[in-house]
Symmetry: C2
Subunit: 227 residues, 2 copies
């Protein structure tokens, strides 16, 4: 379902060019459960943004469900993002002036659900991450871990086939973390493809395959004990 | 050095009042090394903001170095914040349009250091958190863990007597995390008072006392094995 070949990404810094991803090859089949690990600055979020169609590579090709993403215009790319992918950002990216309920109901607009159905789905998903009593809080009226859980709920509410989570438990205590991992396990058991960037071993241990990045390259790609 | 007595904090939500801290008593002596732990939403960041003079309690008193903080006007409070306290925010709060070097040199302006000295100190501190080669990157040109380390460097650069860290390693891999904890251990060994909110046991194990919050109250306050 994901086929990245020879993917490189450069950023311009003043006069020079910084290569932050270098010749990355990665194939992920439907229904896989993957962790991406590696040091701070090794390129994990950059890779996730490419996989999530939020950015384009400098070199290489990316096929998503057989479609060559490089051939698609911005509108077609936005369409894929909204329908097929749920993205949990490392820095959450919530709408600051809307409450938790509105933030989580938002993706369902693209799916053509009417208002009552959107509200119901959003409330269910917020309840599943423990925020039933925070529906009407705006992001600046929420704790760090609560904002993180709103970001998680927003990515899951439309039950997208591909879920990309960039450090989804960084601001959570171990109990909230375990609840989120149980949600993810359950989604994967029901056929969703899960790719999770994490710094935490406890999270990586839930997956079946670990891809390790270092300095923009894949250093290793191995099954876990659960495979 | 920190004396909180009967501290409560309420927020208004529409018609009702939410009590998020409830009668908190906390005394911290000079040179202590404390962790504050507890579930997401239990009031840790709210408590840190009160201790850091970024917010005022609804009830109770707070004496910092013998001064009654409740008696001080906003200017005096800002003065204390800038000179005596280094604060690492859970969401970093960096200046978006300035590079890492400028962000870290900023607090030294309040200490009356001239430009050359500020640059030198800022470069040293950024080097100590592993960012010597990222001085001229702005926050949106940095990874999540790199932004976190800029926030850490900014809090440490003026070597303030009191360091308050709200989840300082949430976005860091274990190696970067250990480097930061060694920095903190070293600062405490040199007499700085350290208060660290954390969800990670590995971090709490470096401290000598653990205060546990639950639903806005202190549930327990106990020495660690290192005490
Ligand atoms: N817009 C940009 N311009 C220049 N360099 C950038 C830009 N964005 C990211 N970088 C650099 O690219 C590298 C990889 O960043 P990335 O965010 O992918 O790292 P990461 O593996 O997610 O790190 P972390 O674990 O800290 O989140 C970093 O060294 C960063 O400084
Ligand atoms: N401005 C506000 N208005 C209303 N409620 C608020 C406001 N700010 C915070 N809260 C609520 O206060 C509670 C405590 O928030 P706080 O940020 O202190 O939690 P925390 O312990 O730091 O959590 P985390 O571990 O998730 O960072 C939360 O339940 C939050 O929803
Ligand atoms: Mg990242
Ligand atoms: Mg917090």
């Amino acid at each position: 379902v994901l086929d990245l070949a020879g993917i490189s990404k450069d950023y311009r810094m003043g006069e020079s060019l910084m290569r932050v991803l270098n010749s990355v090859d990665l194939r992920v089949e439907r229904g896989e459960y993957l962790a991406i690990i590696g040091p701070s600055g090794s390129g994990k979020s950059t890779l996730m943004n490419l996989v999530g169609c939020l950015d384009r590579p400098t070199e290489g090709s990316y096929h998503l469900n057989g479609k060559d993403v490089g051939e698609l215009g911005d509108d077609a790319l936005a369409d894929i993002r909204n329908r097929e992918i749920g993205f949990i950002f490392q820095s959450f990216n919530l709408l600051a002036r809307q409450d938790a309920l509105h933030n989580v109901a938002q993706p369902l607009v693209y799916r053509g659900l009417r208002h009552g159905k959107r509200q119901k789905r959003a409330i269910e998903t917020l309840t599943s991450v423990g925020l039933a009593d925070r529906l009407h809080h705006r992001p600046n009226q929420l704790s760090g871990g609560q904002r993180q859980r709103v970001a998680i709920a927003r990515a899951l509410v439309g039950e997208p086939a591909l879920i990309l989570a960039d450090e989804p438990t960084g601001n959570l205590d171990s109990k909230s973390s375990e609840e989120i991992m149980r949600l993810f396990d359950d989604l994967n058991a029901r056929g969703h493809t899960m790719v999770i960037v994490t710094h935490e071993n406890e999270v990586a241990e839930h997956t079946r395959r670990i891809v390790r990045l270092r300095d923009g390259r894949i250093e290793s790609d191995t099954p876990t004990a659960r495979a």
